[in-house]
Symmetry: C2
Subunit: 227 residues, 2 copies
DNA sequence: AATAACAGTATTGTCGACAATTAGACTAAA
DNA sequence: TTTAGTCTAATTGTCGACAATACTGTTATT
């Protein structure tokens, strides 16, 4: 049972609903990266007026999925090697920090739950190698809980609300499903142990390495598919 | 002559203008921290309709100056010791990172400009001890340039757009004008030297210390004024 | 007296239309 | 041919009104 962060609350308003739909569409590439966004077109497509749509666009800009220029319109963000590098560079620092804080602030039962989660993933993962979806979800769930464990509201907001979907977009559109799965599990386990031992410094280090490895993995994919 | 970041472009639309006004009002305490925000009232007060006002509110939420609850309304953020701690904790990590990257990526002439800026501040500062405004501005300008020097778009966005005004709000409303001025100058100088020497690790460390000192200074003020 | 249901009021969410601005096509001059 | 300018069309920004939801004070019931 996943923990609920405010950002994942049930969609209340029409703007909430359309936000989720457009978010998914952009992340999955259904709305092509780099393409222009037409407010009238989207309004017709999702059958609502421009008011809630613009509200949704404002939030999409907030999580870096679109870029808006006053009086000119919005474009879906374009994926680039530079952007990927900057994003993962930042993640290394931020999630490392989150890990260190988690080692200091997570309650014992939270750590126990996290361990249970990992075990469950490991067992569920009589790894049909193909099904990268669940691996992806499991990976994100682990990171998610560690971040929440930091208990720093601003840090949580940045990682879970602002950067989360962009990270997913890079992963999905670059076809992240390499053979890094089992190794990632080991790394998660090591990080968990560091947190359980209240060794923030080590947890920080391990998380940085973990993300750096993940970044190199994606970069490799990126090279293969053709720069 | 200050460098222009996208976030500081001239206000084009009515939403931009009212955003700046409300932002200032909140930061300066003109709109009291923790108070409720009434859309009709603000719309009347600034003489525009609710559409651009809501656009402005969306951006205010983005920089953590207000908190919105669906169907219930928005409140100005409440200042708290916990919030201050979380904010400065994050700044330590992020600006440390920015410093390290700046040491790697800043062009030589950018560094020269930064040095000129510091010298100018030092001379302009035949320190009328009272005028904390210019000291404040100078301090922010220095940090600002270092952050831009990191060349990491996401990092820049977070520090300059999302956290900047909240930091100012804490400083202003807690009356930051202590006797830390001259020491801050020395610290800036040391940081600059580390950057000029391309010593990212040292620059990181010094910036972290600098911000930690700044945080302790504010906390002291906070204790005196009454928890 | 305390609590629960209810009505009335005020606020937020959404809509359709209009105004302001920009992008693109076309024309005219160098 | 290129460039500058203009005009048209489309898009974004803004407005006022309506619908849906949440708050408040009252009433009724236990």
């Amino acid at each position: 049972m996943p923990i609920l962060h405010p950002s994942l609350r049930a969609p209340i308003t029409a703007a909430d609903r359309v936000l989720l739909e457009i978010q998914r569409a952009i992340v999955e590439g259904d709305i092509v990266a780099g393409s222009k966004i037409s407010e009238p077109e989207l309004a017709k497509r999702f059958d609502l007026s421009r008011a809630p749509l613009r509200e949704a666009l404002a939030r999409l800009e907030r999580c870096h999925l679109i870029e808006r220029i006053p009086n000119a319109g919005a474009r879906v963000v374009k994926l680039s090697t530079q952007g990927l590098l900057s994003l993962y560079q930042l993640r290394e620092t931020l999630e490392g920090m989150a890990c260190r804080l988690a080692a200091e602030h997570m309650a014992d039962d939270e750590i126990a739950e996290l361990r249970a989660l990992l075990d469950q993933h490991l067992s569920t993962q009589r790894v049909r190698e193909g099904e990268s979806y669940y691996q992806e979800a499991g990976d994100l769930d682990f990171h998610y809980r560690v971040i929440l464990g930091s208990k720093n509201e601003y840090l949580i907001n940045i990682l879970c609300d602002e950067l989360y979907h962009l990270v997913r977009m890079y992963r999905v559109q670059l076809g992240m499903n390499g053979p890094r799965v089992s190794r990632a599990f080991d790394e998660h386990k090591a990080i968990l142990n560091a947190i359980a031992n209240r060794d923030g410094e080590l947890a920080d280090l391990l998380m940085r390495r973990h993300i750096a490895a993940s970044r190199r993995n994606i970069e490799k994919q990126l090279d293969q598919t053709g720069n």
